[in-house]
Symmetry: D2
Subunit: 344 residues, 4 copies
Amino acid sequence: MINFKNDYSDIAHPNILKKFVTHQSKSYTGYGLDQETIKVVSHMKSMFTNDIDIHFLTGGTITNKTVISHILKPYEAVISAETGHIFVHETGAIEHTGHKIISVATKDGKLTPEMIQSVYQSHVDEHMVKPKLVYISNSTETGLIYSKQELMLLYDTSKSLDLWLYLDGARLGVALNAKTNDLTLDEISKYTDLFYIGGTKNGALFGEALIIKNNTLKPFFRYSIKQNGGLLAKGFLTALQFDALFEDNLFNEIAISANESSRYLIEGLHSLGLELHSTPTNQQFATLPNEWIKALENKYLFEVWTMGDKKSTIRLVTTYQTTKADIDSLIRDISLLMNKEGLA
Amino acid sequence: MINFKNDYSDIAHPNILKKFVTHQSKSYTGYGLDQETIKVVSHMKSMFTNDIDIHFLTGGTITNKTVISHILKPYEAVISAETGHIFVHETGAIEHTGHKIISVATKDGKLTPEMIQSVYQSHVDEHMVKPKLVYISNSTETGLIYSKQELMLLYDTSKSLDLWLYLDGARLGVALNAKTNDLTLDEISKYTDLFYIGGTKNGALFGEALIIKNNTLKPFFRYSIKQNGGLLAKGFLTALQFDALFEDNLFNEIAISANESSRYLIEGLHSLGLELHSTPTNQQFATLPNEWIKALENKYLFEVWTMGDKKSTIRLVTTYQTTKADIDSLIRDISLLMNKEGLA
Amino acid sequence: MINFKNDYSDIAHPNILKKFVTHQSKSYTGYGLDQETIKVVSHMKSMFTNDIDIHFLTGGTITNKTVISHILKPYEAVISAETGHIFVHETGAIEHTGHKIISVATKDGKLTPEMIQSVYQSHVDEHMVKPKLVYISNSTETGLIYSKQELMLLYDTSKSLDLWLYLDGARLGVALNAKTNDLTLDEISKYTDLFYIGGTKNGALFGEALIIKNNTLKPFFRYSIKQNGGLLAKGFLTALQFDALFEDNLFNEIAISANESSRYLIEGLHSLGLELHSTPTNQQFATLPNEWIKALENKYLFEVWTMGDKKSTIRLVTTYQTTKADIDSLIRDISLLMNKEGLA
Amino acid sequence: MINFKNDYSDIAHPNILKKFVTHQSKSYTGYGLDQETIKVVSHMKSMFTNDIDIHFLTGGTITNKTVISHILKPYEAVISAETGHIFVHETGAIEHTGHKIISVATKDGKLTPEMIQSVYQSHVDEHMVKPKLVYISNSTETGLIYSKQELMLLYDTSKSLDLWLYLDGARLGVALNAKTNDLTLDEISKYTDLFYIGGTKNGALFGEALIIKNNTLKPFFRYSIKQNGGLLAKGFLTALQFDALFEDNLFNEIAISANESSRYLIEGLHSLGLELHSTPTNQQFATLPNEWIKALENKYLFEVWTMGDKKSTIRLVTTYQTTKADIDSLIRDISLLMNKEGLA
């Protein structure tokens, strides 16, 4: 089976495993208080203009949950696109910590200043929750990215309304390395209060690096990590992985490779004249007749994103492991299906 | 520095890393729904007489938190020794899910049927929480183990009072491989409702295997894992580690090695005539003058368990990595300190 | 000022206060375990065909919160119209107990079987919450009522999907006494799993009577009341009030009076040719130019329901205290405003 | 039956009901935003030197729950005597909001600076909760009171450790009116961060007045009341009751009367040479042979506080309704039981 299903089906990038193997004889202090972690954190801090705090966590949901539990008072709520990962795909993890998510209908999964202002203005008194945090994802759940201008405006709006802005960077690598991207990692820290750099979907075994810029949100964060069950005994494992990712440009290379395959894929799909939702990152969406989808499922792994009676939309994800041959095969097979022939 | 600090300061046992390296080119379905996980679960199930469910989680606190959140109704509480890990060292993770822990003073960190009955009888009406779950650890937080007779009685008591019995097996390996142990892994499943087999402190990078025997507690457990932030995207990583641990007897060998070192250590300490809390597993406790402790800290890593004005108690943990030379060195140095000489 | 603001601005119906005054010399056991409560509960039980449990609580939000906290497992969610009181006007009280509310857009604030099925079908796996409870209000937040046919279908749908159906009866009195209503109190218990009879908005000082029919939901409910802070020390006070409400038909008389005033009001408003949302219960909605609203606010109390640039919609609530003169005055004044004259 | 069971078995003091009856024709804004509430709050504020906020709530548990939920971050905990109401008798209501209660063994139910310091010093890092709030009751759960010196020292200790001090005043009336008391209501506000004045156990139908002095804790408290289900629709009812309590010294008179009866009772019990726990407030405790207790239960209502094999301790509570005749009767009957005769 050729994999277009997701970007977390590999064990890890070879460099990351190599890092473990070469350090195997060493001994570390637990819970991320070891010298290796301190060294990696120090190196990563040097990548930012602002004085930021860094915490390593094991996955996206636990990072989102810990952040929101840490930040909000019980009666405060988080604003999210109705397609936001925390609203749809975390089994009520945020509500489990006691907080309402105020969802907003969007055109394309991206929040705008107007949407935030509208939520803010409609929450007027103590009979309703108090909006206090804005949650966005970059890239978004459907592969789009925020421009520098868009992020700046969201940040300005948030500040003017005394809201915090949090960016879920589960797929930050492909966002920052998109052709159309004009944001740097440092600018992400400038125009948010906190955000995380996703490792899991960018070649790591697991691990996300949370960057907290806003000083108000920094104190006692390790208490929140531990309370939410996210303080790994062998914390040094996450640090070692980010060490591998941020030496020799590996983090970007992995993302660039995924994006290039994605571009090659979307060009191929486009050449077939299909109905597409095209993105600058590693997720592409094609709407195909259900019988083609059924046929493709015999040879390819992918997700059916939205199901229709006759046509459905599938999601195709590329990674650093995707080959030109994988894509050529898929394009060829769809082309055969268009001609009412079987798969190659 | 020679390490007696804990059993989670290594990256992982070489066989575990080897497992990752040899599988590196493979591709897996996410969230523990892959074929490898199914195979490992199937193999592990064959180790039990009862029909049990298995779930892999990343660490002890998140396992405890997820189990208790899944099992209890809001007004139900868990009974624990006042030395229990959930009561003392999890930053209120259990209370964070809304549940009270009813703590019990014990002689040695082990619960008895009488203690459980006493708690049960003192909680009489709706003005108090309803005890519903008994939490024990094996080995305990101070290295002791439950005998088969003790566990059977706790289980019988729990059943007669309509309580569930949950065993925290963060250090189950050294417990089952203690010289004085008379329990098998299968019997643990027989005399509890659910328990977990700790990987993190027995050679894995991370990972605990939760075994649910009681049919009432099985449904929808994956919802609770996801909601509590514990559903690893690359779930196959934990399965691969337990595959390595449960092939060729590695799980037991790692524990046996730790216990043997521990026995060699306690014999050495005993020969010096020290004040000791001696255990059959991989934790030993010695009470020493504070100035000796200060001197030892220059050469050895260990935890000061309880601090006194003149004397304090230190914890010495052995692992599969501990060498005879490490222990000889420590015994020699304490002996020199007894003779008012410096470290060797 | 003439009051059309709400149905909880009076101290209480005189018969209720009289009940307190005549019982003043008596002494009662606390927490609702007294003989008076037992007697009232017994009388109320006789009003139902099914064997139901009755609990008295102090208000609507705490009743909703306690019910939902009691019923749902942590990963289970409640389905509500997006206009539902729990979704909009309870400051995240439900989420504070850890549960997501899945909101549904509706035509008129009423849920339909199709909406429930759609939510059910879109929540497919452990990455999403599990819908388990359907929440409806009767009368709804905008004064409409469910017909027997509609409620039966909702109940059938709920049962077929293994969902519970809970009816918020904060304004059940006016619903059951609406001209177009074809449901009896007993039928409400038949076609729901549990519901409450609102006292606060029907002449009591405070107090709601929760009716639990479904046997699965009955055990240990008093634990949930206490834990949620709703177990009144002087529980007999609520029982005494429901005693007053359910002797001599007072509960219905209060509602009938409010509905009759409401009908007289809507006829008056209709005769003026205004843009109206007309209901069979004690809430009516009129859309008026903002300058008229501003003028009316000098003489009348009411809520502006939705605000527009030029026109806004106001809510007019009638109660057993509303007089024909109050309504005549309002109609007259609106008529004067239509003629560009000042208030009478 | 003669009532010594508790101080909440009456409907309410006649003056309080009278207040309702005389205001019956009036109409009020909901949720405590009415003019009457504003007037009562203004009057009560004049009783304090500091600028304090006042909120009216319906009962003790919901007040404690709302306060603690409002004040603490998720990883912060409250320190309480192990006899504290929140620790023992609130069905885990505090833990239900996510917070651990750190219980302390005490001599007599009163916390001391040393106990607080000891808890503070033993909670050293992110693996344990962070103590942040000190909870005391005055009078305590067993009828004792704090002296001015004791409260000042607790407050100083709390401030020096950056902890908040909260006083549960469910029985503050009898505490402040005890013969041996040297604290004023104003001083309570001076030496705590917040506290509440109990109405329920001092003649009201229901209602507690929360006094917040610490400015940090004031903002958005109404959000927390609503979220916790404690915002009464007819909030004016609580204000009207406190109006009655704080005009013409009624609050103190009710308490003085209860205390005087209590003193007369304890003198009588003392004259019989019984084993007593004597207090300056309205709760007294006597240890009697179980057969006497059984006999007394035929004629008197009281609680068995702690049960023994041969002797048990009973609690005797006096109120403004207790008469000299009630007490004389009880003393006489115990005296008859001592002489092996039947009850009078």
